[in-house]
């Protein structure tokens, strides 16, 4: 069986890649994609720890399933917001939307 740390390394790498995308991309859809990568990394961690530490319990998988639901809700609302902003202001660049910025 593959040791646990290998999964953690993959998860850490995926999370860092997602964080870089969120922090650096200009396009709001690309930022959402970074968030999805980060959510996937956390899910991978959850399932890996469930498998290696406590495989008899069901909690780990249930938690991961809830993360799926929240991710779906987040993507739906986020994309709806992006469409709304595009309709009103003709931009999907995050830094152009700065009305509420100090």
């Amino acid at each position: 069986m593959v040791p646990l740390w290998m999964y953690l390394v993959v998860s850490a790498g995926l999370f860092s890649i997602g964080a870089f995308g969120v922090l650096s991309r200009r396009n709001a859809i690309a930022i959402l994609m970074g968030v999805e990568l980060m959510l996937n990394a956390s899910n991978l961690n959850l399932v890996a720890f469930w498998r290696y530490i406590n495989p008899g319990e069901i909690n780990g998988q249930v938690f991961a399933a809830f993360v799926f639901v929240v991710a779906a809700a987040e993507a739906a609302v986020g994309l709806a917001l992006i469409i709304s902003i595009y309709v009103k202001r003709h931009t999907v660049v995050a830094e152009d939307v700065n009305l509420l910025k100090w």
Binding site: A12, S16, S24, R25, R26, P55, V93
Partner: protein
């Protein structure tokens, strides 16, 4: 560590996940980004299979690749005119790179050994138990039926389950209201 099929599959899926993940954040064409995102999510689904969580792998393919990524494709096509602006990154790109690198190194050298310390012995024992079982059915895995029962029994997760349903409904209605064009 000997080269087992599991290790080969793991490395394949890991490279697929991380490589496509990198392409997601570096690709200048947003359309390609989403396609790489799909590949990356598929790699994570493969890792779920290796972790003996087949239901989660199926959900990953259905919900993430089938729904979320396709939804993103729709939005990209709806906002097509501004899709390819010249600059890909904002001014804080260098800072973001440093921050992501620091985050990765911190996770790698601080949290990962810590996690091994917390559950190291248990993980070893379980790994041995699993390694002793020679064919797949001997490995105890959680079936969809067990998972479904856990969601709806009172001692299980019925309350979070219902709250999640409300969240999902609210998000769907909210998304429709937000994205709808005003008639007035």
């Amino acid at each position: 560590m000997e080269l087992t099929w599991e290790l080969v599959a793991f490395l394949g899926f890991a490279v697929m996940t991380l490589g496509s993940g990198l392409m997601v954040v570096t690709s200048s064409n947003l359309f390609h980004s989403v396609l790489f995102l799909m590949t990356s999510l598929f790699g994570v689904a493969g890792l779920f299979v290796l972790l003996v969580a087949p239901f989660l792998a199926a959900i990953q393919v259905l919900v993430y690749i089938g729904a979320i990524a396709v939804l993103m494709l729709f939005v990209i096509m709806l906002t097509r005119q501004v899709m390819s602006r010249p600059e890909l990154y904002n001014q804080q790109m260098a800072g973001a790179l440093v921050a992501a690198a620091i985050l990765f190194l911190a996770l790698l050298f601080v949290l990962t050994p810590l996690a091994d310390e917390i559950g190291g012995d248990v993980a070893q024992v379980n790994a041995e138990v699993i390694a002793e079982a020679d064919d797949a059915p001997d490995v105890d895995y959680i079936t969809v039926e067990e998972l479904g029962r856990a969601f709806v029994t009172r001692n299980g997760f019925v309350l979070p389950f219902e709250v999640t349903s409300i969240l999902l409904t609210a998000a769907m209605i909210g998304a429709i209201v937000v994205a709808r064009e005003d008639e007035a």
